[in-house]
């Protein structure tokens, strides 16, 4: 437990007896980590903001890993009979590209925002379970590293990100790649599961006074829906992964057709997870741009309740459409018809959102900052992807498109055009909040335009390639299959590959922007004239987030503290009556004197470390399995026995003269 003493003129604090600072070992084998700077302050932290930043940085690293894999794929396909990758390596490459982008970039990046922003947006000082939050982070990082070590340990998984069994069983994929994949996804699944429980409890339980559910900022709402999706989707994939693990490692025959198994079992289990997963990827981005569009349109979000409920509706219906991934599998006409209609139905709440965003911009005073550009880009690109999605909902048309590049075009428009653009919008929007500095807007524009042109060049031609019949997952294409004129496969494949490199440059421009912006002067406290609660504190926020917990009176609380409605009757006319700085200064003035925060802990990272050890044990040796289990048991008991409150003697003594603040994250034991 750390206690933070803030400067105060209350003599009661200053006059308190100063107990000696004696780091205590009474509750465990180790002293609690106490560092406030250096690597230890990050590795053992339980601060949701540091955890959020680490989530973001790790996700970005994996984004470039996955991007590199994509470039290799496109380089291979740029010309007929490509020779850059062998067939085996190509299979591994597209499998790991998708796995990395889905599980190691898009999901953790959304977690980064949810971790960082959700407590701030609901007026909390941390998440409900800070140590479990750290556990989630390290499970994700170790799981991601674990999967990628397969590259140097005999080759990565090669069954596609859906890892269809029996194609992923030992006879068809004899290397350990699939084992790494299965165990790695199990580990990151635990991370998501723990994170989901943590964030749901946070959003439901830790709201500031007056923060009713229908006053929650829209990003928090969408993040909450996503956590519910994770909560109920992850256990299903966990079952599938365990069955596959038992099949590959312990001789079970769950997916062996020759032993009478049902080849559709995996597909059902996987897509029952896999389709909600699509919304897990895209809803956080929807939440981000639902914050960005109102801010840069100078208007409240059009139809806030509709955006909330359509998000929840997407969550519910998202569990009832999984079989549309299996139209070509022979489910029978009734199933196909039902899932076809359900799939068309889910387009409705999505369309509602598009209309809400458009109407939010309609008549607004638009400010095209980089964040806004990415948000508008999302609306347009996602709509294109949504329209091609409706063509899959029509089962006969889907049967034509299944396993062609048309599908690849579709899901890159919804995932890159939806999730990635939205996440970048959020990065530009919240960068000054998180780091206290602005990102360079000029470089930001280059970043945006390269990415948007690159993505359309890459994925646009894939519609044509797919409708011409170029199959997915083929490591080469041949000249004699190339069509003529507009349907020339060679031409469009080359365009697509060039586009991929433009896109790669666009993504790299973001790194340059971060580098260029590193010495920018401190950003203003309210650079965008924002609307929601996370801006009612300093940038970057201190460990305790808010000097005092803000009391919430309305949706868009920050906006309404800055602006007063001077309109008569039904006419609204908002006049600015206070700057953001003034609102923040007022809160600071009335800050709490004692703020208790949970102190750092060793146990989350130790417990997380046990998981890859266990996983290597499953693949290589029982000895490692035992070692991993021992670490896990030790860490679990350490975790459970660690006290949240320390003795008086373990707190930092108040400063003797009463007017000097002590170190902010003082002694933690």
């Amino acid at each position: 437990m750390a206690i933070i003493e803030r400067p105060t003129d209350t003599p009661a604090i200053a006059g308190a007896a100063a107990p000696a600072v004696t780091p205590s070992t009474s509750y465990g084998a180790f002293r609690r980590p106490v560092e406030t700077t250096g690597w230890k302050s990050w590795v053992f932290t339980v601060d949701h903001k540091k955890i959020g930043i680490m989530y973001g940085v790790a996700a970005m690293v994996f984004f470039f890993v996955g991007g590199f894999e994509a470039l290799l794929i496109r380089a291979q396909l740029a010309q007929a009979d490509g020779t850059i990758l062998s067939a085996e390596k190509y299979n591994q490459m597209f499998t790991m590209h998708a796995t990395t982008m889905v599980f190691l970039f898009a999901m953790p990046m959304a977690s980064a925002f949810a971790n960082y922003m959700m407590p701030l947006q609901i007026g909390a000082r941390d998440v409900a379970f800070p140590r479990l939050n750290a556990l989630s982070l390290w499970l994700f990082i170790f799981g991601g590293i674990f999967i990628n070590t397969s590259w140097i340990l005999g080759g990565a998984a090669d069954g596609g990100w859906f890892m269809y069994a029996p194609n992923s069983s030992v006879p068809f994929s004899p290397t350990n790649g699939v084992d790494f994949w299965v165990l790695g996804i199990l580990i990151t699944g635990v991370a998501s599961q723990v994170g989901a429980i943590n964030l749901i409890v946070t959003a439901l339980n830790m709201r500031a006074p007056g923060m009713k559910l229908m006053r929650m900022p829209i990003f928090t709402w969408m993040a909450l829906v996503v956590q519910f999706l994770l909560l109920f989707a992850i256990p299903v994939i966990t079952v599938a992964l365990f069955l596959l693990m038992f099949q590959r490692n312990f001789g079970a025959t769950f997916f062996s057709v020759e032993d009478g198994a049902d080849p559709l079992l995996w597909q059902h289990l996987f897509w029952l997870f896999g389709h909600p997963e699509v919304y897990i990827l895209v809803l956080p981005a929807f939440g981000v741009i639902s914050e960005v569009l109102p801010t840069f349109s100078r208007k409240p979000l059009f139809g806030y309740p509709f955006v909330v409920f359509s998000g929840a509706a997407i969550g519910f219906v998202g569990f009832g459409v999984w079989a549309h991934h299996m139209f070509a599998a022979g489910l029978g006409p009734v199933s196909v018809a039902v899932f076809s209609v359900a799939t068309m139905a889910i387009a409705v709440p999505t369309g509602v959102k598009i209309i809400n965003w458009t109407m939010t911009m309609w008549g607004g005073k638009l400010w095209f900052s980089t964040a806004m550009l990415f948000a508008v880009g999302l609306i347009i690109q996602f709509t294109i992807g949504g329209l091609s999605g409706v063509t899959h909902a029509v089962a006969p048309s889907d049967t034509q498109q299944t396993d062609t590049y048309y599908i690849v075009a579709h899901f890159h428009y919804v995932l890159f055009g939806g999730a990635v653009l939205g996440l970048f919008s959020g990065i530009y929007y919240w960068w000054p909040k998180v780091f206290g500095k602005m990102l360079n807007e000029t470089w930001g524009r280059w970043n945006f335009w390269f990415m948007i042109i690159g993505m359309n060049l890459t994925f646009g031609p894939m519609h044509i390639l797919g409708l011409q019949g170029q199959p997915r997952r083929m490591y080469i294409w041949t000249e004699n299959r190339a069509g003529e004129g507009f349907f020339d496969l060679a031409f469009w494949n080359l365009v697509s590959s060039i586009g991929a490199f433009v896109l790669g440059i666009g993504a790299f421009l973001f790194v340059i922007n971060v580098w260029v912006s590193r010495k920018n002067p401190p950003a203003p406290a309210d650079p965008w004239d924002a609307r929601s609660l996370e801006w009612i504190t300093t940038s970057p926020p201190r460990e305790y987030n808010f000097a005092r917990i803000p009391t919430v009176h309305t949706l868009d609380e920050f906006f309404h503290r800055k602006y007063e409605d001077v309109g008569e009757g039904d006419a609204h006319d908002y006049r600015k009556v206070a700057t953001g700085e003034e609102v923040i200064a007022f809160e600071e003035q009335h800050g709490d004197h004692h703020i208790h925060l949970p102190s750092p802990s060793y146990w989350p990272i130790v417990l997380a470390f046990a998981f890859p050890v266990l996983a290597y044990g499953v693949i290589y040796s029982t000895l490692l399995l035992v070692a991993g289990a021992a670490i896990a048991v030790l860490a679990l008991f350490g975790f459970a026995l660690e006290p949240p409150t320390a003795d008086e003697s373990e707190y930092d003594p108040p400063p003797p003269d009463g007017d000097q603040p002590s170190k902010e994250l003082a002694v933690s034991v």
Binding site: F129, P209, F232, A233, P235, A252, L269, H553, Q589, H590
Partner: protein, 231 residues
């Protein structure tokens, strides 16, 4: 489940958190009203009224339903895909399994006794009933191990057929859950004895109880679908 929450520390300055109007009330910027609609909010209360840990346990159990749902579905799909005519009709010893199921159900009763004792702050009773619950759970597990041994002797190995794999996987997952529950119960007894429980003791007991009851309820479903419903 014992994480401290930043909000339940009692000595947070109440005037700072409830936003009560203070003497320098004139400094409130225009547009900021002093918040009359938050009466009844206490800082250390959660917004839903459920404690963080209890809500988390409910959510965890909710997701566990999907885990067992997937395993039970797999079993139902494969229950008739047997080898060598080794199926439920040949193997099940319903009276025996009914007896062990009864033992497990009785452990829910003793768990309730323990929660009730904890609420009365009867520490000795709490520990006693927790121990009895763990023993009954252990008895059930012993029964399961015995049953597995018998099936194995009769020729039903883990990889014998799709039926056997899915049966052992489903009941094995349940057995592991019971095992984890027993470890938690015994740890709880030890921690109570050494006064190492963090936070509300009665609530900690109640939470382990929630988990234990859940595992029992899942067994009722498994027992019905796997043993009682004819193939």
């Amino acid at each position: 489940m014992s994480d401290s929450t930043v909000t339940d520390t009692p000595d947070i300055d109440p005037t700072g958190t409830t936003g009560a109007p203070e003497s320098d009330h004139t400094e409130i910027p225009p547009g900021y009203d002093d918040g009359e609609d938050h009466i009844g909010f206490e800082h250390h209360h959660t917004a839903t009224g459920l404690s963080n840990t209890k809500l988390a346990m409910w959510l965890f159990l909710g997701s566990e339903c999907l885990l067992f749902g997937g395993l039970i579905s797999t079993y139902m799909l494969y229950r008739n895909r047997q080898a060598d005519q080794l199926g439920p009709d040949q193997l099940w010893d319903i009276p025996f399994t009914s007896a062990t199921s009864f033992v497990l159900l009785m452990s829910s009763l003793t768990m309730v006794m323990s929660v009730s004792a904890a609420k009365r702050k009867d520490e000795r009773g709490t520990r006693l009933w927790l121990t009895v619950t763990a023993l009954l759970g252990g008895l059930f597990l012993a029964g399961q191990v015995y049953e597995f041994t018998v099936f194995y002797r009769e020729g039903l190995g883990y990889t014998t057929s799709l039926f056997s794999s899915s049966f052992f996987t489903l009941t094995g997952f349940h057995g592991v859950h019971v095992g984890v529950g027993i470890i938690m119960l015994l740890s709880l007894v030890a921690m109570l004895a050494r006064n190492r429980i963090i936070g509300d003791k009665a609530e900690t007991v109640e939470m382990i109880g929630l988990y234990w009851h859940f595992v029992d309820v899942v067994w009722i479903v498994i027992f019905t679908l796997v043993y009682l419903v004819p193939a």
